[in-house]
Assembly symmetry: D2
Homo-oligomer: 148 residues x 4
């Protein structure tokens, strides 16, 4: 998991905990979402302002829960984009302990470019593509066979 170039710290909130005393499973998606927005901002894909002006929707997500998270656990969420398709991209996540590097969860998400004003999917903007390829050091091989 040495290849994450972006991490975002998360403070566990009391409000994230459930009756079993640890962070509720749904909050793992909230943590990854927060890292995702920060990633978009960091790369300049989203400038701030209305979220209706930025379009990427979640089409699929898979999470593997490795160990419970408790209040006070120092977290960071790693995010990287590993695949750029025509209209979609694949992101990977790792929620880890800042101090000992142990993994709380890992996840994969498929994100689809979306125009909220037109209410339809769109090709991944060229500007995003350039920024992501550069940031992630992705291979720039042709993707014209990828129709998703």
């Amino acid at each position: 998991m040495e290849n994450f170039h972006f991490f975002h710290p998360i403070e566990v909130r009391y409000g994230d905990l459930d009756p079993q005393g640890h962070v509720n499973n749904a909050r793992f998606l909230t943590y990854m979402e927060q890292a995702r927005v920060a990633y978009y901002k960091h790369l300049g894909m989203w400038q701030g302002g209305s979220f209706l002006d930025f379009g990427a929707i979640l089409a699929e997500v898979r999470v593997t829960f490795r160990k419970p998270i408790h209040w006070g656990d120092p977290l960071k969420v790693g995010m990287r984009i590993t695949r750029l398709g025509n209209k979609s991209m694949t992101a990977e996540y790792r929620i880890e302990n800042v101090q000992d590097g142990s993994e709380f969860a890992n996840a994969t998400a498929v994100l689809v470019a979306y125009d909220y004003h037109q209410a339809c999917t769109v090709p991944v903007p060229e500007e995003w593509r350039k920024k992501i390829i550069e940031f992630e050091g992705l291979d720039t091989a042709p993707h014209h066979l990828d129709n998703l």
Copy 2:
């Protein structure tokens, strides 16, 4: 998707919505979790009372988001258990529109039997096994080769 024997209705809350005007992706896990607790109660696997006395934890989840959910959409969440392992079981979910039967999302989860007082995984209790096999009409083939 004709094989769900259990459905739980969900009312979409304003508090479930995000700045894009639809139900936030993390809430899909909350909806499925609510169906799961209701399922446990319905089958008599959990009698109510402290949640620390009931042990099943989420080890893995995969969700496919098919279309956005809005305030006022009439939902029900189907849940069924399709696999019973030694210490784990696989559940499937379908979030659908009560009126037209269309699908908002489907999901799969791996649940692991857990003893909160001992803080360790345990075999799926025989009592659960019987109730689930009967309710779901599962094949009762031996599962001793399944080590998960």
Copy 3:
């Protein structure tokens, strides 16, 4: 508390609970908010669609917590508007047990009419005023001295 003409049922979710096993205090606001949106819809003040086309913001809230709410408790939230000012109105809430009528919490909120497109407060629309006065059986005394 006999004067509520509007009640909205709420299903307690597992996701509403906190490590102390009962509904987290912040969720009481979520429950009241849900009743509020349903009230607006019921009176025809909001027709559905984008929430950016409906403008009422919370300026102040006070909640008295009377007893904890647990999973499975059958709830309804009563809401009534008791004061109509120039730009604001006061709403009262009561979260109660459907079965025995006991009170979990009561609350008061000050709501201010707001135009999201103009980003400014506005007078309470005449149409709302009429609907609320009729529904609540409010006194129609002049309110021109009320500047809030």
Copy 4:
């Protein structure tokens, strides 16, 4: 508001936002709750571990919302305890912008000492009393007339 001796920073999450694009009103309670737990930890009133071993419940809360909070706003929540009764205490909160010191909201809460294992209210422990009086520089006048 110069008298807060304790502040806790909060990162606004995308998951805190509602369809009106700003932080949902219920999350203000979540932010204050997070500051409260951090305050208890900071003063040594709670050592970490199970939240069932720490007992203070919210009996009443009042919040005044001054201006909306958006994603990216740098927040801190001030908390101070201003009254120590027999079984209860009053806390005050201020959610402010770290950069310009402007106020997003202020609030007051009444907290009641509670024994979760006995399920009953209890006197504010002497140890808490000492720590709070010292930290807040409270007047140590007798409180035996205060029965709440």
